[in-house]
């Protein structure tokens, strides 16, 4: 099994199919990339470099936008992309700020 999979040819993210550990080497777009932290199954890494505001495409469809520049091979998650629809709730959320 490949470690990374592009689900749809239009995608600009790759999905982790085999757990990645810190220090693992990946080849993305002909570049050698060192994995900076462990990533579990299903997590996403950038297939190409993205600019802030670029759509993030998975399953051939936009799943949100990049909020900062993202390098090829970098982990894409809550820290560098957001929904076009509604903000994503995490346990870090402070209810008190809403009152």
């Amino acid at each position: 099994m490949d470690q990374l999979k592009r689900i749809n040819p239009r995608d600009n993210v790759l999905v982790v199919c085999k757990r990645l550990n810190e220090g693992d080497m990946l080849e993305i777009g002909g570049q050698q990339i060192v994995v900076s932290h462990a990533l579990g199954l299903g997590h996403k890494v950038a297939a190409v470099a993205l600019k802030a505001g670029d759509p993030v495409v998975k399953f051939g469809l936009p799943i949100g936008v990049a909020t900062t520049a993202i390098a090829a091979g970098e982990h894409i998650h809550l820290h560098n992309m957001k929904s076009n629809f509604i903000s994503t709730y995490t346990l870090d959320h402070e209810f008190i700020k809403n009152h």
């Binding site: 299903g42 997590h43 949100g64 992309m81 929904s83």
Partner: protein, 402 residues
């Protein structure tokens, strides 16, 4: 695989003509105040197919009324004991009459009328003892996949759900429909952004427009709630946005045309794939449409689902009262950790290179086996969750059922 249409099952025949795959006695409390008595009665029949459902509210609600009517006359239900405190708003006599008119044995225990907790429990235990003897000789009848209604939900999703379990469940759904059966999917709150793709699968253009309106309604509703259908565990499992979760969730619907839109507790009028519109009509009144997975499962069962497929990546453990829940585990690591709770390991599409089609066939075969009486994991572990809250609905419009 054996030819799908010739798969033989055996059903419990109800006097209203429904065919069930389980022979359950339901104990239904009609207000939270009666729940303890219902639970105590059920507790005397450990190991017997006695399931507790109920509605906790003391204020009347047409949706909850309709749900209880549908659930108490579900194909898998052979008899019902209603447990009332006595002063609640639920119309117990109308529900009792409805169940009795379906030909099912039914009785009502009123806690105030009986003289309190202890006497009400005694009355209930007496009825259950009699009715369980009666149900042990229920007529059985030949049943086929074309008689089955199968629902699907996902819960505790992670980023493997949309690549492994959901497309596999979708393939199983296609096989059920190909065999002449009926499939139900729901949670329009997880279809936001996919309106056009889903509408394109409608059997005709007006239904496509109705599907778009249904998903627009969900979008407006969740915006007002200020929170989409997304839990912290979804993000820990690699899902980042509601859109991403939605697309992955959509694959569990398979590829067949969509035959219509139903509301919770409506029976699908024909075979094929139906979308259940779970988001209340009108302004938000009672909070989140379905506050948890169990309330989604209850609605699918109220619309006739004999069994419900439940795909999970993080590892949900819930089952349900009335109908067996079949767990399809998306994540191979979760499967290894929680194997006792999982009926199918769809994660082998990642870990072993199995195809989605092969796992879909295994799910279909599991549906057949569970329909033949094999316990699903959640049944074996005693899970009988049930949640029913307040909602408001208008009837489905004419375009919804072409």
């Amino acid at each position: 695989m054996s030819s799908l249409k010739t798969i033989d099952l055996t059903g419990y025949l109800r006097k209203d003509g429904k065919k069930g795959i389980r022979n359950v006695v339901v104990i239904a409390y009609l207000v939270e105040c009666a729940r303890h008595v219902a639970g105590e009665i059920a507790g005397r029949f450990s190991g017997e197919p006695v399931h507790v459902i109920g509605f906790g509210g003391c204020y009347p609600n047409a949706y909850a009324d309709k749900m209880m009517h549908a659930l108490c006359t579900h194909a898998n239900v052979g008899a019902v004991l209603l447990v009332s405190l006595g002063c609640e708003s639920f119309n117990r006599n109308r529900l009792l009459t409805h169940i009795q008119e379906s030909g099912r044995p039914a009785a009502l225990v009123g806690i105030q009328a009986a003289g309190g907790t202890r006497k009400a429990i005694e009355e209930g235990v007496h009825f259950l003892g009699e009715v369980l003897r009666e149900l042990s000789v229920t007529t059985t009848v030949a049943m086929h996949v074309s008689d089955l209604v199968v629902g699907v939900v996902c819960g505790g999703s992670d980023a493997t759900s949309g690549i492994t379990a959901n497309p596999s469940a979708g393939h199983a759904f296609d096989l059920v429909v190909a065999a002449g059966g009926t499939t139900l999917f729901e949670n329009t709150g997880e279809m936001i952004g996919l309106e056009n793709i889903i509408a394109a699968r409608a059997v005709d253009a007006p239904l496509g427009i109705a599907i778009k309106k249904t998903i627009d309604k969900a979008s407006r509703y969740y915006q007002k709630m200020g929170h989409g259908s997304f839990a912290p565990g979804n993000a820990e499992g690699g899902l980042t946005t509601l859109e991403e979760k939605a697309i992955g969730a959509y694959f569990k619907t398979g590829t067949t045309p969509i035959s219509g839109i139903i509301k919770p507790a409506d029976a699908p009028p024909s075979h094929g794939l139906f979308l259940m519109d779970i988001v209340p009509d009108g302004d938000p009144l009672f909070g989140f449409p379905n506050p948890n997975d169990s309330s989604e499962i209850a609605e699918l069962i109220a619309s006739g689902a004999h069994t419900v497929l439940f795909t999970t990546g993080r590892g949900s453990v819930v089952g349900s009262a009335i109908a067996p829940v079949i767990k399809v585990c998306a994540n191979p690591d979760t499967f290894l950790r929680m194997e006792d709770d999982m009926d199918i390991n769809a994660g082998t599409t990642l870990s072993e290179g199995d195809t989605v089609e092969a796992v879909g066939e295994a799910i279909f075969e599991k549906i057949r086996d569970v329909a033949r009486g094999e316990s699903s994991c959640s049944e074996r572990l005693g899970h009988q969750e049930f949640v029913l809250g307040y909602k408001t609905f208008e009837p489905a419009g004419p375009a919804c059922l072409p």
